[in-house]
Symmetry: C2
Subunit: 291 residues, 2 copies
């Protein structure tokens, strides 16, 4: 049994808890969360108290992931996270790789569906068609990372960021905010537009009375590549998903928690992991059923 | 530069040649083929003459792959092949794994699009939705493996096997045969139906005057999985391809020839290979562009 802890008990942490319950090879030892939660496992207030687990699932806002992952890896605890700020992933991986190697621990970072399983698809498509163009179209659906980023902005009581695909990998961000009593909408709107998560996209910010009425965790992806295999053009591949967003992220984190136990010391993205390592079965059995 | 040889110069061997020409990190040293071919590299008559290459791409009928791969691996030459008899892949891999480990060489077997890249997709989908059902629907299109199997039957001058999807992963095989002068159609038809490639599928055998008029190397896949992530049902993923069959197989063999150079001694299927290994670039660069 793999002894696992969940660090952070929001949407993703809860989904990871469900995915662990549905697996046979994990034993959930602790949940780390600062809020009062009603669960049937010991709850710790701080990651510094975490010991005696093989792997920690970091279901935390991306911005705190690198620091928490470093702390745990330096204690020899493996980590998985779904850090999702695409432009920083290479740097975060490189830094965590050093910490992990120094402390004989292992980590899989950016393990969600994008970055994550979509990254694996994009890599595989490059191997199949080295020349060509890939477009990843998201949504319509709620972006967890963007929503969390908006919620962190001063004056925001609650928020929701919907990603709308406008084709060719271009997206519109529809941001809905419920403001605190004294907040100035223009200040909040400006802060959202200037945030790294939004600065490159067409962003619309709308003030609403209640976010609850808008909430829907469904999401989707349409990933297409048209390119050349060798010297042959017009090879076309399309990958479509219609999914419950936190459920899929939680499941991929749990599958990655299994995979990280099989890696040598270091930090990896999902494109660096043999896909078979996510599964809990004998190698020959898996080959017989899936290859 | 990776020194490579192509063993077998049919449709797939020619496509592999094109894919090598379109890559920067390979040097094609030899082609091994028993027929007279017009190419600008040295041609050897037999694999036993092959030396001084890093990796051999085996573009041969599946049934001769295990023996040729064993021979080369035992000489310390890495191999890649697209062995496609699904029910025997686990055993073939296991046997080649022993030979490779004893001789400090490495091999990727069943490296095509199915088995191959589709296998990677199916494995990834299992990590995303551990419970559920996957259907792989092929075609309509010409199956290389099935066509080669028919051509090997006595009395067959030329042949073509078309795979037609009838849904839910069930297929019909439409086999077209051009007979030798003295051949008995009923004997040929019976031999085709009893072949491992056809025995489990609805198979129609038709005698035609000329196979050439029917030839088309386009193919397709529709791979779907509906299942559960954690305890959440109704997660849906669909993967579609429309491709030139030999071109994609040749390209995947060449990408695998790159990947095999990065593996430790042993024989692997594609689900055991980190996807990043198929690509020729710096790790951080690949992460920046694809993750």
């Amino acid at each position: 049994m793999i002894k696992v802890a969940i660090v952070g008990y929001g949407n993703i942490g809860k989904a990871a808890h469900e995915a662990i319950s549905a697996s046979k090879d994990f034993s959930l030892e602790y949940i780390v969360d600062t809020t009062k939660i009603d669960v049937d496992v010991p709850v710790l207030n701080d990651v510094s108290e975490l010991n005696n687990v093989d792997v920690a699932i970091l279901s935390l806002p991306s911005r705190v992931v690198p620091e928490v992952a470093s702390l745990l890896l330096s204690k020899g605890i493996n980590t998985v996270d779904s850090y999702d700020m695409h432009s920083s992933i290479a740097d975060v991986r490189s830094k965590l790789d050093q910490v992990a190697k120094q402390n004989n621990s292992a980590s899989i970072t950016a393990a969600g569906w994008d970055p994550g399983s979509d990254s694996v698809i994009r890599t595989l498509l490059m191997a199949m068609m080295p020349r060509g163009i890939t477009y990843t179209n998201f949504g319509p659906g709620m972006s967890m990372g963007h929503t969390v980023a908006v919620k962190a902005i001063p004056g925001v009581k609650d928020a929701l960021s919907i990603t709308v695909p406008t084709g060719s990998g271009v997206h519109r961000r529809m941001v809905y905010v419920e403001l605190m009593d004294n907040a100035d909408f223009n200040v909040v709107e400006s802060a959202i537009r200037q945030d790294d998560y939004f600065i490159n996209d067409e962003t619309h910010v709308t003030k609403v009375e209640s976010i609850d009425d808008l909430r829907d965790v469904g999401h989707g992806v349409n990933l297409i590549r048209k390119g050349m295999s060798g010297t042959t053009p017009n090879q076309k591949v399309e990958f479509n998903m219609s999914i419950n967003n936190p459920a899929l992220t939680g499941q991929i984190l749990v599958s990655s928690a299994r995979a990280v136990m099989k890696q040598r010391a270091g930090c990896y993205t999902m494109i660096q992991i043999p896909p078979i390592d996510y599964l809990d079965d004998d190698v020959d059995e898996i080959i017989r059923s899936l290859v």
